[in-house]
């Protein structure tokens, strides 16, 4: 028998598709959905990884980062570069630095030197630096407006850091991404506050140190894709040799350093000793000279002193002499005066006496005369006697006078002698005075000379002292230096070498985690869709085969083989599935990575997503869908096709009417409207369809609930966190820590701005969790008011601040660390110290991990007392940024973070998830639509006769519509009800998978979301109704009721 081309047959097949396009498209659509979800979700991880892989490859992320405790020098770099298997070795300098930006706020920045062959930079704005005082800023952390502004290195940095930075200010000339910072993690630091805000890249000339702080290495063979075994193995292979080589080099360098140091110390010692002896010598000389001079001076001084004392004694002698003279003169004068006086007196007396005598004489004479005259002889004798007496008296008087004269002459002579003495004395005195004056002036001169000499001596001594002191100081310094150097040298430990591969880079590791998130979801969603796809196909094709029973019978009677006939249906379903798979595969491979990458946009914006087509996925999904469609068709049609032609050509006995279980409750059943009864019966008549509808509609509702639920859980994270937990408006960091007095001062000064202020001691530690080491923010304070700024509660219960010795931790941290209240959490304080802290409370928290404690706990844990460098505060002012600026400018704050900014940032991050939710809703709608459409289609084509009958019976068009679609409503209701628990479970599952590092979600579905989901499901159902109504109108009563002829 010649096989004809079967043109008619092929036409039949083709027409089948075009005439029942709705059915064909339904299968296509549901398959596309399933395959889209499956391949889309599964390929997203690969797409993300490919994107990152290409980016990291293009920008040459390091394979190994080598650090040693001694740093790395040029020679070592060259040595490594020459190593076998190493393609690139480049040294770089990294340093954490406190700097002030244009805005006035201070931040801790991670400064890196720009390298040329490794860790290349991708500019997002501006240009590369052309001068050493230019730099590139962090594209993800700094706004575009930062380009052109200056950064000032804060003077608060330590001496080494300040030294390293060549300039005080650097101009930001561009913004850049960096392959070593894939996400927003910038790392922690020991500098103020503990958190690094952004990175900075400077040209090599902008930072200068004696050696590189790290060495970046790339291996020639490490070409595998990131995260792949090939890559990991290639790196592992080279890691040990590299480490060994570095250790060797570093050891050598260490030895070098030690030897050099030792030699230098020895040289220095020698120099020192020389210096010391010279010093001693010079000191001795100087001392001698000085002491000689001192002696001389002392002598001079002694002489002077003696001179002075001589002069003084002379002077006093002279004074005495003078006094004596004066006395003498006075006495003489007195004497003279007395002499004169007494002479006068005496002579006066004498004269008086003489006068008396004379008088007497006169008298006598007179008397004598008289007497004589009178011849009184007695009288005369008497008188003569008297005269004789008088003569005697006279004689006495003369003698007296003689004596007196002699006396007075003697006195006079005495006086004169005295006078002469006095004069002589005076002369002596005068001489003496002159001599004294001379002597004085001589002495004075000598004194001046001495003083000058003494001053010179003092100066000379001072100078010598100073010089000696300086020298001594120098020597002491030198000694100290040498001693210190020696101590340092003794302290110098053998160097440690750290060879860190990409697994230590936070951005790299987190990327792998984040790209895997979708993987978890991809295990559930597609299964569901494939199941629905299978059911849809099954019901559709069963219906199709049933419908064409007679045709099949006829064809069989004509002589077409069962296989040929079966192939028509298998190829129909298979064709739809193939096309659907293609559409879903391409659509999904594009849509899902794009949506999810956009959702990650805030976190990873470094490159546009690369779309990958994973043909293995396509093969798998195609196989599954073909089985679901063609395979199912084959199975269902087998029954039909095995029948004899005649049987096929007879109409199939219609399926029996079934009583619904509800009928057994006559109470309820009686109350139901007639039409409702019909609908209920119809609903439960076909189990497969019932299941399909419930699954489809339930799935739709579940998807909607999940979508809205995701939004509920995520959207409110900002509110939950910042309205209910961390309720403070500002986080203030000060340049210097404040003690209690300064704190009170600050509070008083900022009364007008801040309504409350609590000083806290902050730190960052790492906690051991089942996801590795995670950073935890530590807050320690003794201020009771902290509870008004940080609310600790869980499950509606308010918790109290931890007592001394315990800590309170955030709930996600507790969860991933596997601890509950009463357990202890193990944490790393720094590289060397680990400690276990008992947990007294676990509180609800959504962003970052926190640990709260009292100052006492802090001290016993960290070994140092609390240092209050930060404060949390609330402000009643409406403009928070004005308040923040005021704190920065006027109150000594180094940095103020405004919580509302953080809230905005978190909200922005979350808003990008809206896109994801939109996609989910769209798919839910598509699912509902396809399933409902399919079912309605089947129902209508199956019950054309029934529908025509009721039209004949006189049902108005709306009544006809209601008759058919009332069932759909009942099914939609059943489906939505089933969908609610399914949705709750699915939502919980997805939220469990959506684990971002720093964020935990409040898994909640708002009541409104349930309502919306069910309402939307019904809306979709109504949409299908409206879409199908024209079909009903088109049913021709006459045609449909024609007998099967």
């Amino acid at each position: 028998m010649v096989m004809r081309k079967k043109n008619a047959w092929k036409k039949n097949q083709r027409r089948e598709v075009t005439q029942t396009l709705g059915r064909f498209v339904a299968i296509l659509a549901i398959v596309a959905l399933g395959v889209g979800f499956f391949s889309g979700l599964k390929v997203t991880k690969n797409a993300m990884i490919d994107t990152a892989d290409q980016y990291l490859r293009e920008y040459a992320m390091f394979d190994e980062k080598v650090m040693t405790t001694l740093g790395v020098d040029e020679a070592q770099v060259a040595s490594i570069a020459a190593m076998d298997g190493v393609s690139v070795a480049e040294g770089a300098v990294s340093m954490d630095v406190l700097a002030t930006l244009d805005s006035g706020a201070s931040y801790v920045l991670a400064a890196h030197s720009i390298t040329s062959e490794v860790n290349k930079l991708k500019l997002t704005a501006g240009r590369m630096p052309s001068a050493d005082n230019e730099c590139l800023g962090d594209a993800r952390m700094l706004p575009l407006s930062a380009v052109g502004t200056k950064i000032t290195i804060s003077t608060e940095n330590d001496a080494d850091t300040l030294d390293a930075f060549v300039y005080d200010t650097y101009t930001i000339v561009g913004l850049t991404d960096s392959p070593t910072y894939l996400n927003m993690e910038r790392g922690t630091t020991s500098l103020a506050g503990g958190k690094i805000t952004a990175y900075l890249y400077l040209p090599a000339g902008g930072i200068s140190t004696d050696y590189f702080t790290e060495l970046y290495v790339k291996f020639t063979d490490a070409n595998g894709k990131i995260f792949s075994d090939a890559y990991d193995n290639a790196v592992a292979k080279m890691e040990d040799p590299l480490k060994e080589k570095i250790e060797l080099l570093t050891d050598a360098r260490y030895q070098d350093i030690v030897t050099k140091a030792k030699n230098e110390i020895a040289d220095a010692e020698v120099k020192y000793q020389d210096g010391l002896s010279e010093y001693n010598q010079q000191k001795a000389d100087a001392e001698k000279k000085l002491s000689d001079a001192a002696d001389k001076l002392a002598d001079a001084k002694a002489q002077i002193v003696t001179g002075w004392s001589t002069i003084h004694s002379n002077e006093s002698a002279l004074n005495d002499a003078q006094k004596q003279y004066d006395d003498g003169l006075a006495a003489y004068n007195q004497g003279v005066t007395d002499y004169e006086a007494s002479k006068t007196d005496a002579f006066a007396q004498l004269d008086a006496s003489q006068a008396t005598l004379d008088e007497q004489r006169a008298q006598l004479n007179a008397a004598l005369d008289a007497a004589t005259l009178a011849g009184d002889t007695d009288q005369i004798a008497y008188l003569q006697g008297q005269l004789t007496t008088l003569d005697t008296a006279q004689g006495q008087l003369d003698a007296q006078r003689q004596t007196t004269v002699l006396l007075f002459e003697g006195s006079q002579a005495q006086l004169d002698a005295t006078k002469a003495q006095l004069d002589a004395a005076k002369q002596q005195i005068d001489d003496g005075t002159a001599a004294l004056a001379q002597g004085k002036s001589k002495l004075k001169k000598a004194e001046e000379q001495y003083n000058t000499g003494y001053q010179d001596y003092l100066d000379g001594k001072a100078e010598a002292d100073q010089k000696l002191a300086d020298a001594a100081q120098e020597l002491a310094d030198g000694r100290k230096k040498i001693d210190d150097a020696q101590t340092e040298l003794n302290k110098l430990k053998t160097p440690s070498v750290y060879v860190l591969n990409r697994e230590t880079n936070a951005g790299y590791v987190n990327f792998e985690n984040d790209s895997s998130i979708v993987n978890g979801i991809s295990k559930v969603f597609p299964v569901f869709f494939f199941l629905v796809a299978a059911l849809v196909t099954m019901t559709t094709m069963t219906r199709m085969v049933e419908e064409q029973r007679t045709q099949i019978g006829t064809l069989k009677a004509l002589g077409y083989g069962g296989v040929t006939i079966a192939w028509k249906y298998i190829s129909y379903a298979g064709g739809a599935a193939l096309l659907g798979s293609l559409v879903g595969f391409f659509g999904g491979s594009w849509l899902f990575p794009w949506v999810i990458w956009k959702a990650y946009g805030m976190l990873y914006g470094f490159a546009p997503i690369i779309y990958t087509l994973d043909w293995t996925l396509f093969a798998v999904s195609l196989a599954v869908t073909l089985f679901c469609s063609a395979g199912v068709t084959f199975l269902t049609s087998r029954a039909e096709l095995s029948l004899m032609p005649s049987e096929l050509m007879r109409p199939k006995a219609p399926k029996e009417g079934k009583r619904v279980f509800l009928e057994r409750i006559p109470f309820l059943w009686k109350r139901l409207g007639f039409m409702v009864k019909i609908s209920l019966r119809n609903v439960f008549r076909y189990t497969k369809r019932l299941i399909m509808m419930v699954l489809g509609i339930g799935g739709c509702t579940a998807l909607l609930i999940t979508g809205f639920g995701i939004r509920d859980s995520i959207a409110n994270i900002a509110e939950d966190q910042f309205d209910n937990i961390m309720t403070y408006d500002f986080g203030v960091v000060f340049e210097k820590p404040k003690d209690a007095a300064q704190q009170a001062d600050f509070v008083a000064q900022t009364k007008g701005i801040l309504s409350s202020c609590v000083f806290v001691c902050t730190d960052t530690i790492s906690a051991y969790t089942n996801e590795g080491l995670k950073n935890v923010n530590v807050i320690a304070t003794g201020d009771k008011n902290i509870t008004s700024l940080i609310s600790m509660h869980i499950n509606g219960q308010q918790l109290s601040y931890p007592p001394d010795g315990s800590v309170a931790i955030s709930d996600k941290l507790a969860r991933i660390a596997g601890v509950s209240v009463g357990d202890s959490i193990r944490v790393k304080i720094d590289d060397t110290r680990e400690v276990s802290l008992p947990v007294s409370a676990i509180f609800e928290n959504y962003v970052y991990h926190y640990m709260l404690m009292t100052p006492a706990t802090y001290e016993s844990t960290f070994g140092t007392a609390c240092v209050y460098e930060a404060a949390l505060a609330n402000s009643a002012l409406t403009d928070q940024h004005v308040a923040a600026a005021s704190l920065l400018d006027e109150h000594g704050a180094a940095n103020v973070s405004v919580t509302s900014d953080t809230r905005d940032r978190v909200n922005n991050m979350m808003s990008s998830l809206n896109l994801v939710i939109f996609v989910i809703i769209f798919c839910a709608g598509a699912l509902a639509f396809v399933v409902l459409f399919n079912l309605s289609n089947i129902n209508i084509t199956e019950r054309v006769r029934e529908i025509a009958t009721i039209k004949v019976l006189g049902f108005y068009a709306p009544e006809v519509g209601a008759y058919v679609f009332r069932e759909n409503l009942v099914l939609t209701l059943l489906g939505s009800l089933a969908g609610i628990p399914l949705g709750m479970w699915l939502h919980g599952f997805v939220m469990g998978q959506l684990s971002f590092d720093m964020v935990s979600f409040h898994v909640v579905i708002k009541p409104l979301s349930y309502l919306l989901s069910v309402a939307m499901t019904f809306a979709f159902a109504f949409g299908v109704d409206l879409f199908m109504r024209p079909r009903l109108a088109k049913i021709n009563m006459v045609e449909s009721l024609k007998a099967i002829e």
């Binding site: 006995a653 219609p654 399926k655 029996e656 009417g657 079934k658 007639f674 009864k677 019909i678 019966r681 119809n682 008549r685 006769r945 029934e946 025509a948 009958t949 009721i950 039209k951 004949v952 019976l953 006189g954 049902f955 108005y956 068009a957 009563m1037 006459v1038 009721l1041 007998a1043 099967i1044």
Partner: protein
């Protein structure tokens, strides 16, 4: 006899894919109220088309049809639906019962629609199916199903009962049963019954026989004496 149903120059042309089919042309006849009218003709003669137009399920191309003075052919869609709902009872060759409803519920479908229906139970009893009311069509024999169909058509209390080959799928005995019911309806209840058939043997039971040939009425015969079913042999 007052003409109840009047066909006046009725013509019907189908056009599908450019092909014109002349199903009816120049059809004019009358049916009196309370008559049993049998429309007879060979397959493809156009009798079903005729019935469909009368039943308000199809439109005519030319002419007019009126029932009790009302021009049915001028009705719009909604009016036609109302016409079918209240004025016409239809009985099909293949029963066309709703398989998911019991016999009683099938009849109740119709009673829920009509303005002044009979009691569904009563009507079923009238057709002798009081025992079978709670059975689904699949559980009924062909004759029983047809009787349910008749009950359904009747329960509406229509002006006109149209039957398209009511006995076509039934055996002899059952067919007679059904026809008897139809005849009794006309006689006892005064129902106007129109029956389409290709079996000319039963034309004796009718009051009027309309012969349709090649899309038009070839003859109209009025039987003076109507034979009861029992006496007719075919």
């Amino acid at each position: 006899m007052t003409p109840y149903v009047v066909f006046e120059n009725v013509g019907k042309t189908y056009e599908t894919e450019g092909v014109k089919v002349n199903a009816l042309h120049d059809v004019s006849f009358e049916i009196g109220q309370g008559e049993v009218c049998i429309i007879v003709g060979q397959s493809g003669a156009g009798k079903t088309t005729l019935l469909n137009i009368l039943g308000g399920m199809d439109t005519l191309t030319t002419g007019s049809v009126s029932l009790g003075g009302d021009k049915i052919s001028a009705y719009n869609r909604r009016q036609l639906t109302r016409y079918r709902r209240e004025d016409v009872g239809f009985v099909f060759q293949f029963y066309n019962l709703i398989p998911n409803l019991t016999a009683l519920e099938n009849v109740e479908m119709a009673t829920e629609l009509a303005k002044a229906p009979f009691s569904a139970k009563q009507v079923l009893q009238d057709v002798g199916l009081s025992e079978r009311m709670q059975n689904f069509p699949a559980q009924l024999s062909g004759g029983e199903q047809q009787r349910v169909a008749i009950a359904r058509a009747l329960a509406k209390n229509p002006k006109l009962l149209l039957c398209d080959e009511p006995t076509g799928a039934l055996d002899d005995t059952t067919g007679r049963q059904v026809l008897k019911i139809l005849q009794d309806l006309s006689r006892e209840k005064g129902m106007t019954v129109v029956i389409i058939t290709h079996n000319s043997a039963i034309t004796d039971m009718a009051d009027r026989v309309v012969k349709v040939k090649n899309g038009t009425v070839s003859s109209v015969r009025i039987n003076e004496t109507v034979k009861p079913i029992e006496e007719i042999e075919w």
